[in-house]
């Protein structure tokens, strides 16, 4: 007597398409997914706990290791929370440098996400084309910070260093080239018939569910909700720039992906404006900050729009030079929460597309 039954398959942790050491325990019916149970923690280093036994400054490098693809933004989020706690003022030039470096980091992260997404659905050339531009960004960031991935650029009350001579001009040149490069991605990846067949109508996410699951970033905006912290609650100096928040319509994989591509264009716009404005601002890049950092007793929560979504840092101080507790709202981790329901009923190939469209970084998921 013939009968069929479901079976379990370990998708990861050693799998080329899980973007790191991430495991999904799949229950499959043929190739169809009945249940997808995400298992994370393979990269857990206990950063939140480690922060409790380090001084405030020493925590900054740890934040780099969370979302290592956009670590500039991670530094920024943490530094902002501590500044809020201490009531520190940040000089204007430092704010501009933070915006420029932060947006460049976001750009680098989105370029990688775009390329990796092309790789996930099987197109290898898109992946390497994206790396070509990312390399230029990385070179610029290296020139600014001395490091290619773990920048630790932000400091309490400012940034580590001013931009080197000629750096802003080089950045301006890259920003001039960038729209052309993004057009290339649109031609090779976005416009491809097979790519669209693979991503459109796949892994749908309704706006209500997106809010219920507290999803954020391009995943939320792909479902048609216009919520970008840079616009909704402008922090730093984002109210000075003219940019739009790209929103999707159907909440499928393609919309999530395309949101990122359009966000790159907006980032380019912001950087262009910031370069224009920073030229008129001369001044310190670091405010007056006491050598021994001892924030007053209390707590503070600061959130910024990272490349993956809303990144929040909650810092509790007990009056000593070490934080009592640091908690991070990691967008990658929270965005993963809906993976199971999102991928049920789709095929294995779609799971790869769905996972790629969420754009997770395992360093951030596992923290």
């Amino acid at each position: 007597m013939l009968r069929t039954e479901t079976y379990t398959m370990n998708f990861g942790p050693q799998h080329p398409a899980t973007h790191g050491v991430f495991q999904v325990v799949l229950t499959l019916d043929g190739e169809k997914i009945v249940k997808a149970e995400p298992v994370c923690g393979y990269l857990h280093r206990g950063i939140e706990k480690l922060a409790e036994s380090r001084t405030y400054q020493q925590v900054i490098p740890y934040t780099d290791r969370m979302d290592y693809l956009a670590s500039m933004l991670q530094n920024w989020g943490y530094v902002m929370a501590v500044e809020k706690l201490m009531g520190l003022e940040v000089p204007e030039r430092a704010e501009y440098l933070r915006v420029i470096s932060g947006e460049l980091s976001r750009l680098a992260s989105h370029v990688l996400a775009t390329g990796v997404y092309a790789l996930d659905v099987g197109g290898f050339t898109g992946f390497l084309l994206c790396f070509r531009e990312r390399e230029r960004m990385m070179d610029l960031l290296e020139e600014l910070t001395g490091s290619r991935m773990t920048f630790s650029y932000a400091r309490f009350g400012g940034v580590a260093d001013d931009a080197p001579e000629g750096w802003l001009e080089k950045l301006d040149k890259l920003m001039d080239d960038m729209p052309g490069y993004i057009d290339e991605y649109d031609g090779l990846i976005t416009g491809n018939e097979i790519f669209q067949a693979r991503t459109k109508q796949v892994g749908g996410l309704s706006p209500e569910t997106a809010i219920d699951y507290s999803l954020s970033g391009p995943v939320l905006r792909g479902s048609g909700i216009n919520y970008d912290l840079r616009k909704a609650k402008p922090y730093s100096i984002y109210d000075r720039f003219d940019f739009e928040v790209p929103v999707g319509k159907n909440g499928d994989c393609f919309d999530r992906y395309f949101c990122r591509v359009r966000e790159m264009r907006q980032s380019v716009r912001i950087i262009k404006q910031a370069i224009e404005q920073i030229k008129e601002i001369d001044g310190p890049i670091k405010g007056k900050v006491p050598k021994a950092l001892k924030p007053p007793k209390g707590d503070a929560y600061a959130e910024i729009e990272s490349s993956k979504g809303i990144l929040g840092f909650y810092v509790v101080s007990d009056g000593t030079n070490k934080p009592h507790r640091v908690h991070v709202r990691r967008p990658s981790f929270i965005n993963l929460g809906y993976l199971d329901e999102m991928s049920r009923g789709w095929l294995i190939a779609d799971l790869v597309a769905i996972l790629g469209s969420i754009d997770i970084v395992l360093g951030e998921v596992d923290c």
């Binding site: 080329p16 790789l119 099987g122 050339t125 390497l128 990846i189 693979r198 294995i348 190939a349």
Partner: protein, 350 residues
């Protein structure tokens, strides 16, 4: 001189054996063996070179250089790679079906070799001139399915099993449009002999008279050799490496080279059936016929590589839908239209 280079070599060998007093039967057998060995060596070396070509093509398409360290222009890179892979152990999974697992990579080169034996490389350059050549070629091309299935099943791995299920489904559904598309050509020629098919293209290549058939044939053929956008069988971002997941060392290398051998086959078949085989276009006969054949073949191989580095991968259900809902009806329509065309041509008495 160059034109008849290989036929002269064969003739020389025959004369040599004749003068040595070898009986005619043994003479023929020896000659056939020599031809087959030559083809085997050719396939293996060509597959090696194609791996390099693929990496170079990919490199230039992706704004990089590709291998350039081993030998001039990286020419020895793949040779060294294979050398390394030969020296590696072939790990056999504990729960694998040992016989099937080891037999699959050993057999994987048999169909390409047998197909190449029947393909005319140039003027009078065909090892086996069969009168059912086309039928023979298609029959053997589908044999690869079983070998992939053996490897996937024998590995006893879920990824391999999924991959080999995909192989069977894909090959069965794309065999049909492939054969149906060639039916139009067979109707025009009235023969399945590959030499006669080439001869029939003396005035006009079949790509001109049967353009849709060529498109269907080429798409289905790309799917047959599991290349992007139809590389679901490997689909490394989904099922890691499909049937080859558990293979290491030379076992893996055999499958890897077999992929290139099958690209060569489909390109050679498309050249023979649609691009006039070894016939020189525009009367450029000063270039030897076998060189023409290889030129055309390599252009098609390049197109296949171009596909690979441009397209993403199609999904399983889309693949099936495309095969059964678009290619099969289209190829049937092509047969129908060809029939009507032939009838009209005959009616006007051309």
């Amino acid at each position: 001189m160059l034109e008849n280079l290989f036929t002269n070599i064969a003739g020389l060998l025959r004369n040599l054996l004749d003068s040595a007093g070898v009986p005619p039967l043994w003479n023929d057998v020896t000659l056939l063996v020599v031809k087959l060995v030559a083809i085997l060596v050719f396939i293996l070396i060509n597959a090696l070179w194609l791996v390099l070509m693929e990496r170079k093509v990919a490199g230039y398409m992706q704004a990089r250089i590709g291998p350039n360290r081993v030998g001039p222009w990286g020419l020895l890179q793949t040779t060294c790679d294979i050398g390394k892979l030969i020296s590696k152990e072939i790990p056999i999974p504990k729960s694998a079906d040992k016989i099937l697992f080891l037999l699959a990579p050993a057999l994987v080169f048999v169909p390409p070799l047998m197909i190449f034996a029947a393909i005319p490389f140039g003027k009078d350059m065909v090892a086996l001139d069969l009168n059912i050549g086309l039928f023979y070629v298609f029959a053997l091309a589908s044999l690869t399915t079983i070998i992939f299935w053996m490897g996937g099943w024998g590995s006893n791995n879920k990824y391999s099993l999924l991959g080999s299920m995909r192989v069977v489904a894909q090959m069965v559904s794309y065999e049909l449009p492939m054969i149906l598309s060639v039916l139009g050509v067979i109707m025009l020629v009235g023969s399945m002999n590959l030499t006669e098919i080439i001869a029939a293209q003396q005035n006009m290549w079949f790509i001109v008279t049967q353009p849709i058939a060529f498109l269907i044939f080429f798409i289905a053929a790309v799917a047959e050799c599991n290349r992007t956008p139809f590389d679901l069988v490997e689909g490394e971002s989904e099922i890691i490496n499909g049937p080859y997941t558990e293979y290491g060392g030379m076992g893996f290398a055999m499958f890897f080279l077999a992929e290139y051998a099958s690209i060569m086959i489909i390109s050679a078949m498309a050249t023979t059936i649609f691009l006039g085989g070894w016939l020189a276009p525009f009367g450029l006969t000063f270039i030897p016929s076998w060189l023409w054949f290889f030129l055309k073949m390599y252009v098609l191989i390049f197109v296949v590589m171009w596909f690979r580095w441009t397209f993403p991968r199609i999904r399983v259900d889309q693949l099936m839908g495309f095969g059964w809902k678009i290619l099969v009806p289209l190829s049937l329509a092509n047969v129908f239209v060809t029939g009507i065309g032939m009838y009209i041509y005959r009616a006007i008495g051309w």
